[in-house]
Structure formats: structure tokens, C-alpha cells
């Protein structure tokens, strides 16, 4: 069974919602990413999105753009991102990992080597934000053969496309909360509840919401109507603001603790932190 399915199964029985943090791998460096993953797990995050830094991240706002630039300065590649998943597993992590990557790095790696490595590194799912269904047929088929979930994105503007996007969905469906790129925001698409309900009528797989979610209040609001909540830019911003602490040996633990506290508070488990 795909590790991600097991998580959603367990949460369903416990009547809980998955907290799905995103981080840019290699921001500020690979070793710190591994340490942050430990913190996410300690804060009871359920699934982790590993963002592959990219030179031209079209779907991302300024916070994740900056993180990508920092990671690329450290020569982080799509392979090193996958190695982080495996290294985290070897350190004892039980988290399912989703590789979040733009399409071009996948294409340049070549689809055969890419899927071999995805499987070899224990990746449970893929999110490719610039690969709409019209272009995704081959990737989708290969993902299925590899028992890796290709997570589809649906947007408030998807309308009549929703049915065909979610038809054969596995893993979960990623519902985009608003028009726009990633980044914290106060307001979401006005018809968000209707939008989520429409998605639910077409599919039985779990649905998660993302783009712009940054606070415990927002997580709580969507927990009642979604199976998962993705938090990206807000966590990346936490990491960014803690870089000065993380870089110095004497304050590194403190920096990691700050990130853990933030995530625990999002999850509503701040006591455990």
C-alpha cells in the first residue's frame, strides 16, 4: 500500500485532517532540510511536500521564489531532492514524501530514470504544477505503474474541467484555494465551499486545499471540509526568517525549535512541541 494512502486511512478513522507542509529542498542547505523534516515529524505533520528548486517557478509567489534561488545557489538538483527523501527515511522518518517539481527538471532527467529513482527513493507522490491533464497522459500512466500518486490540481477556474481532472485521481486531489500563485493571503476565493463540494461530488479520493494558508485559524476552518491542508509559503517564510539562527552552530537548535513550534501550532498540537 502506498504510504500516503495509509496516512489518509488512519486520519479518517481518527476523524482528523492531514497537515501537509511544503519546504524547498536545500533551503538553506540539504543538511538543514533533513533536520527540518525531523521537526515537521515531531510537530505531527502528516505528509511532506519536498519542493524541487527551479529557475522559473511560474506557480510560485515571492517567498518560494526566494527559497528556490537560495537552494539553487547551493547547486541543489532534482536528484539531491530525492536523496533527501531516502536519507530522511534512513534516519527513521515514517512520513510519506511528495516530490513537488516543475516539469522541465523531470523531462531533462528522462522519464525512465526519473521513475526508477522516484521508486528507489521511496517517494509516494508527485505534484507537477505546470502539467495540466492534457499534457499528463504518459506521466500519469507511468506513475500508476510505479504505484506513485500523481496528485492533480484543480482550480476555482477549472469549472467543467473538474470532472475529467479528478476522474482517475489517486492519492488526493489538490484544490487551489484562490486565483493566483503560492503565498500567504487573508482572503480566499469567495465560492470556496461550493468549489470544494463540487470536487467532492466527482471523486471519492481525499481532497486537500492549498495556496495561501498560513495560520491555525485557516487550517482549522478548512479542516472541517477537507481531508488535508497544505501550508507552503508560511513555512518557507519561517525557515527564511530563522536562517540566521540555523547557520550558527550555537543557535541552530533554537532555529529548528522555532520552525517546529510554528508547525505544531498550525497542526494544533503545540503542547507536544
Amino acid at each position: 500500500m502506498n504510504r500516503m494512502d495509509a496516512v489518509f486511512e488512519r486520519l479518517k478513522q481518527q476523524n482528523e485532517t492531514a497537515l501537509i507542509p511544503f519546504l524547498t529542498v536545500g533551503d538553506p542547505d540539504l543538511e538543514t532540510t533533513l533536520d527540518i523534516i525531523d521537526q515537521l515529524e515531531a510537530a505531527e505533520a502528516d505528509i511532506v511536500e519536498l519542493g524541487v528548486p527551479y529557475s522559473d517557478p511560474l506557480a510560485d509567489g515571492p517567498v518560494i521564489q526566494r527559497a528556490s534561488e537560495r537552494a539553487l545557489k547551493g547547486k541543489v538538483t532534482i536528484r539531491s531532492c530525492m536523496q533527501v527523501a531516502l536519507a530522511a527515511r534512513e534516519r527513521g522518518s515514517r512520513l510519506p514524501f511528495i516530490l513537488f517539481t516543475y516539469y522541465n527538471p523531470v523531462l531533462q532527467m528522462g522519464l525512465d530514470p526519473f521513475f526508477e529513482e522516484v521508486v528507489a527513493h521511496g517517494i509516494s507522490g508527485l505534484i507537477i504544477p505546470d502539467l495540466p491533464i492534457e499534457e499528463a497522459a504518459e506521466i500519469r500512466q507511468r506513475a500508476r505503474q510505479a504505484d506513485v500518486h500523481l496528485i492533480p490540481l484543480v482550480a476555482p477556474t477549472s469549472h467543467e474541467r473538474i470532472a475529467s481532472i479528478v476522474k482517475d485521481a489517486t492519492g488526493f486531489i489538490y484544490c487551489v484555494s484562490s486565483l493566483g500563485v503560492t503565498g500567504e493571503r487573508a482572503d480566499f476565493f469567495a465560492g470556496i465551499e461550493d468549489f470544494l463540494n463540487t470536487v467532492k461530488t466527482y471523486s471519492n479520493v481525499p481532497i486537500a486545499i492549498g495556496f495561501g494558508i498560513s495560520s491555525r485559524e485557516q487550517v482549522a476552518r478548512f479542516s472541517s471540509i477537507c481531508d488535508g491542508v497544505v501550508v507552503g509559503s508560511a513555512i518557507v517564510r519561517q525557515i527564511e526568517s530563522n536562517i540566521p539562527l540555523l547557520e550558527k552552530q550555537e543557535s541552530r537548535e533554537e532555529g529548528l525549535l522555532q520552525i517546529r513550534k510554528f508547525v505544531a501550532q498550525l497542526k494544533g498540537t503545540s503542547d507536544s512541541a
Partner: protein
């Protein structure tokens, strides 16, 4: 039939397509449908034809450059004078048509990306003409290099938004325009300036620019009674070149040459020679040739010509390269500057640096031509905008 591409998925062979966030998909599909609907609408076509004639001054001359021809030897060289358009380049052809389409679609806001500022100025111009609100995204580096064009756009009523992400040049302006469009897709029309990006843009921009080739074909038949042997055009994203080449694609006796920027040389890291040095990749919404590293990260391009300073190229050009219908050849900064100077001195025409690349390739090819060869160069724009950067490059000396 090469001319029947793209297919229904916006593909030119392996190239093209739509690689964009899901949020934009319906907007692109709507744009394609509306474009297809209006493309055959006589009133729509008449409105564009009227503006191209009465506002932009088309048709542009196909000028026999006698002194340049004599200087180079045997061939008769003609210049397609796109530099004589309103705003000084072919960019206005596309901006007028997309502006009229935006209006038909009921959109009151337009956005555009720009490098040197030519497409930005063209879009700001059309927005003023049609009463549309206009935002132009421009890399911060380019706003510094092209202050006059920034001011020009502001005079025309456009808001110029400096882009501070990435390399702060054209590719980042394109990224930022797409990001803005994702957020404002419901009331905003994206006037994309080149034959690049997701379907239907490469097809649409080509069709709005094919007037260059259609006129050239008619004009050369009138003056020479036959088609040219060779046609040269500069290629950045490739909109003037695809507009020029498209009506000649089936005429296999006509040699088509796209000229790209070799910057400081294709053997250096400082060039924009996407066809010569690039590989297949996905960039800004479509599959094309691309300057990238082995991990799929997009490389920065370099050229003295801001309009050619782009790491991607249109998908149709990528296809025409692979089927060997068009040859793509690189010209260095230095060669382009020398050709610019040559055209100034022989013809009294200051070409844009982009266009000077095509002139330079003509200089290179001239020895292979015979006395009765007929050659057309697409003079895509005028060089006034480049005078400052040329002065900076030469330290104020003429060559």
C-alpha cells in the same frame, strides 16, 4: 502540409502544447475559442486591416537596397521595411490585433511583458488607442537600460512594473506577467509579444504577423516576377521571422534563414543561440528549444540586442529546425554592430540591433550567391532605441 500546424493540442510536432498551471487552462481554452471565432469574422478582420493601414501605415515597403547589394557583390537584396511601422517595429502588428481581440472579448485590462520595451510600447500604444488599462512587466535591469522606453510607456498611460525576480530581464518579465495573469485571469487579457508561450499564443501571434510574409510575397512577385532565393529574419522568440517565413513554408525552393544572437560567441557562456546550443525543454508554457543546464534549470541568455536576449524560442521555429525547413545561424554582437554600421553607411537606414543580425548573416552568405540571386531581409525594427546601448558598447566611438 507544414502550414496546417499546430494540431488541436497546439503541437508543432513535438513542440508547443500548454504547460501552465491549471488556473490558466480555461482562460487559454477560451482565448483559443474566441480567436478561432473572430479569425474568420469579416468585421474583426476589417477592423484590424483598417488600423494596420491607417494607423500603423501598412503596407510597409519592400525596398531594393541597391547600394548594399552593390557593396556585397551580386545578389539583389531587398529590405522588408517593418521599421517604418508606427512605434518602429513589427511588434505593433500583433499588439493591434490582440488589442482588438481583447476588446471583442470584453476585457478592459491588458498586460504585457517586455524586454527592450518595443512590445511594451506597442501594447501601451494600442491600449491608449482602444481605451484599455495597461500594465507592462519589465525586468528591473531592462528598466535601467531602456529608461526612454519606460518613460514612453508612461506617457502613453501604461503602468510599468519593474520585475525584481531571477535575472531581472525579459524571461523574468514573462514569468511575472504569467503570474499576474493567474491572479487576474477573469478580467485581464495577456497581450503576449512573441510567437512563444502556451497554445494558442504561438499560432495566434504567427497569424497576426504573417502579414509581413504575405505582403513580401505579393511585392516581390510584382517587382521581380518570381519568389526570392533566400529570406533572412532575426529570431529571438521569433515573431517577425515566423510571420515572414510562414507564407513561404511550402515553397521549398525558397531558402529560409533564421538568425539568432551569438552574443560574445557560441563557444562562450554569453550568447542567446537557442537553436545552435539549446536542447528540447519546457519553458514559459510550451515545449521548444531551450538554453538549460543538465538538470533542466533555465540558463540566462546574453546578447547586445535586448530583443534577442531570450533563452527560449517559439515552438514552430523549433519544429521547422528539426524538419530542416528553416536553417538557424548565429551572429555575434560584433558582427551585428558591423552590419548595423554598414547599413547606415550604404543605405542611410539605422536598423534595430535585432534586424542588424539578419543583415550580418546576409554579409556572411553573400559570397555564395550569384548575380541573379534575389534575397529578402526582414528589417524588423528601427535602431533609434539602440543608439544609447551602441554608444555604451563602443565607448561613444562610431565603428
Amino acid at each position: 502540409m507544414i502550414q496546417q500546424l499546430p494540431d488541436n493540442n497546439g503541437r508543432f510536432g513535438a513542440f508547443g502544447g500548454r504547460f501552465v498551471p491549471e488556473t490558466l487552462m480555461n482562460a487559454l481554452i477560451e482565448l483559443e475559442q474566441e480567436y478561432n471565432r473572430y479569425a474568420e469574422d469579416p468585421e474583426f478582420k476589417a477592423e484590424i486591416a483598417y488600423l494596420l493601414k491607417q494607423y500603423s501605415g501598412r503596407e510597409t515597403p519592400l525596398y531594393y537596397a541597391e547600394r548594399l547589394s552593390q557593396h556585397l557583390g551580386k545578389a539583389k537584396i531587398y529590405l522588408k521595411r517593418e521599421d517604418l511601422n508606427h512605434t518602429g517595429a513589427h511588434k505593433i502588428n500583433n499588439a493591434i490585433a490582440q488589442g482588438v481581440l481583447a476588446k471583442r472579448m470584453g476585457k478592459e485590462k491588458v498586460i504585457a511583458e517586455t524586454g527592450a520595451g518595443q512590445h511594451g510600447v506597442a501594447t501601451a500604444t494600442v491600449a491608449a488607442l482602444l481605451g484599455l488599462e495597461c500594465k507592462v512587466f519589465m525586468g528591473e535591469e531592462d528598466t535601467k537600460r531602456q529608461q526612454l522606453n519606460v518613460f514612453r510607456m508612461k506617457m502613453l498611460g501604461a503602468e510599468v512594473i519593474p520585475v525584481t525576480s531571477g535575472s531581472r530581464t525579459l524571461k523574468d518579465a514573462g514569468n511575472e506577467a504569467l503570474r499576474y495573469w493567474v491572479s487576474n485571469v477573469e478580467d485581464t487579457f495577456y497581450v503576449l509579444g512573441s510567437a512563444v508561450g502556451p497554445h494558442p499564443y504561438p499560432m495566434m501571434v504567427r497569424n497576426f504577423q504573417r502579414i509581413i510574409g504575405d505582403e513580401t510575397r505579393r511585392q516581390i512577385l510584382e517587382s521581380e516576377g518570381r519568389l526570392p532565393d533566400t529570406i533572412l529574419a532575426p529570431v529571438g522568440g521569433g515573431s517577425n521571422a515566423i510571420g515572414m517565413f510562414y507564407p513561404f513554408l511550402e515553397d521549398t525552393e525558397v531558402q529560409l534563414v533564421g538568425v539568432e544572437a551569438a552574443g560574445k560567441g557560441v563557444e562562450t557562456e554569453y550568447h542567446a543561440a537557442t537553436m545552435t546550443k539549446g536542447t528540447h525543454g519546457v519553458f514559459q508554457g510550451s515545449m521548444s528549444y531551450l538554453l538549460q543546464d543538465e538538470y533542466g534549470q533555465v540558463k540566462e541568455a546574453h546578447s547586445i540586442s535586448a530583443g534577442l536576449d531570450y533563452p527560449g524560442v517559439g515552438p514552430e521555429h523549433s519544429y521547422l529546425k528539426d524538419i530542416e525547413r528553416v536553417q538557424y545561424m548565429p551572429i555575434t554582437d560584433r558582427e551585428a554592430l558591423e552590419a548595423l554600421q554598414l547599413l547606415c553607411r550604404t543605405e542611410g537606414i539605422i536598423p534595430a540591433l535585432e534586424s542588424a543580425h539578419a543583415v550580418a548573416q546576409a554579409v556572411k552568405l553573400a559570397p555564395s550567391w550569384s548575380e541573379d540571386s534575389i534575397v529578402v531581409i526582414c528589417l524588423s525594427g528601427r535602431g533609434d532605441k539602440d543608439v544609447e546601448s551602441i554608444m555604451a558598447y563602443t565607448g561613444g566611438k562610431t565603428l
